[in-house]
Symmetry: C2
Subunit: 274 residues, 2 copies
């Protein structure tokens, strides 16, 4: 991270753990919903349920922000909304650019939740000259040539990349050179950026692959469980493990060297003894 010295030298006040930061938006959303229903206070238990976490975690999280609750009562909804908003930096307005106005970029531009809380789409940028000037989400698409000027003129520090993978690294470099220091990357690519620039990535296929892993594990357990039973009768409803086909064959030959340690073909490769 910080080359040289640590980020937080003297001032020790702001020590909010990353895991906590990542949950604050969740709490904020739940609180906003309560606020809209004019609920005055919530307990950690109720709020935790609404946010999908457990209450001990929530209380610990809030304890990093300060003591904003009242023992025996709970938390004041409005006050907490404000405190979390402030902590997240949402009491100011962040101009954002979206680069790459294809299907996804357009969908993001149209996404309402964007403007709703603290963020404002300052510009839509695309490399295709044919797109230039075309309105998307009520805003004309601008050409990549003007990227630097747009960033600077609008004081943009957050960029969203929705380009094809091949263009993402270069786009990120231009954004950063122009002053952007936070990037949300939707392109399926690992961006390499200098210190001090934050990147978060959103990747559909990675998420699906993680789900597939667990799905496969479930299927395996189910099969193991079924092994003791007899009937293979596919009951209604409950996930009767999909019936996938199409297998990828293992590479032959080349793997010979590594393969000696006990044919790891398509079945339980017992790992992890102790």
């Amino acid at each position: 991270m910080a080359t040289g010295r640590t980020h937080r030298p003297a001032t020790r006040s702001r020590g909010i753990p990353e895991a906590t930061v990542a949950r604050l938006p969740l709490y904020l959303r739940a609180l906003t919903a309560l606020s809209e229903r004019s609920v005055p206070t919530v307990s950690s238990e109720e709020l935790a349920a609404a946010a999908g976490v457990n209450s001990a975690k929530l209380r610990k999280d809030f304890s990093y922000l300060g003591s904003y609750g009242t023992r025996g009562v709970g938390y004041d909804v409005e006050y907490l909304v404000y405190q979390i908003s402030r902590e997240l930096g949402l009491t100011q307005d962040w101009p954002v650019v979206i680069v790459g106005i294809g299907n996804l970029g357009a969908a993001l531009a149209n996404y309402g939740g964007f403007a709703s809380r603290g963020f404002r789409v300052a510009a839509l940028i695309d490399a295709d000259p044919a797109m230039a000037g075309k309105p998307v989400a009520g805003m004309p698409v601008q050409h990549t040539d003007d990227l630097e000027k747009i960033i600077e003129d609008n004081g943009v520090s957050i960029g969203v990349i929705a380009t094809p993978a091949g263009a993402a690294q270069q786009v990120s470099e231009r954004l950063i050179a122009a002053g952007v220091t936070s990037i949300l990357n939707f392109a399926p690519t690992v961006l390499s950026v200098p210190d001090g620039v934050d990147v978060r990535k959103v990747d559909l296929s990675i998420e699906l692959q993680i789900l597939a892993f667990h799905e496969q594990r479930k299927a395996g357990e189910e099969a193991a469980a079924a092994a003791s039973d007899a009937g293979v009768g596919a009951g209604a409803g409950t996930g009767t493990g999909a019936a996938p086909a199409a297998a990828v064959e293992p590479p032959a030959g080349r793997a010979a060297a590594a393969a000696r340690k006990g044919g790891p073909e398509g079945d339980v490769p017992a790992v992890m003894p102790a």
Copy 2:
């Protein structure tokens, strides 16, 4: 949260840490790129760089899968591609449905990386009768009424929700009742699902809020540094971050609202420390 109750009970089947699972797709992508360039072997150092992690972590991750490398040499690219694919369950083909074919749903349907590796869009489903039959990404949109039949006929176990927030919970319930056991949720809502169902969420506004937090922290440090430095010229080059538009202004509006507790009813003395 999403993975609420993924605890491994007694069934000591697989010992791969969740954090490792989440990185496997990253390694796989890097390896696939190497494979396409016909690179035969790769060291942990090289592969780690390509995947954006450090090499110790990568080696540890791979150690959970087994001993697939060769000391003094590195890893066989093809073999590793196969092993990771198998571990992730990508040697089989997973049919997926997308529910909610708005801007985002359509973008997802058109997303190429989908079909490329292990996943196949089995159906597009939308609640709007006007959408029914309309082709999106070369595939007719089907109506929600047929959701259960579609799931069952295609043996779908993974569902993608791209509906508005208000519809997501109900859609998830129908998906699950019909046999889906993994959900990728793009709706900005916390889904509550029974044990055994995996949910992963992708949420644009949460990601932006996390970035805003760090962005704000940077701005604060920068200001502090500038204040103490007074006149020392900082080296040029490294991101002189664009100043946020309406930056460090005290949050008058919202703060006031929260402070005076201005709801229709109810009045709690909102304390307001600095």
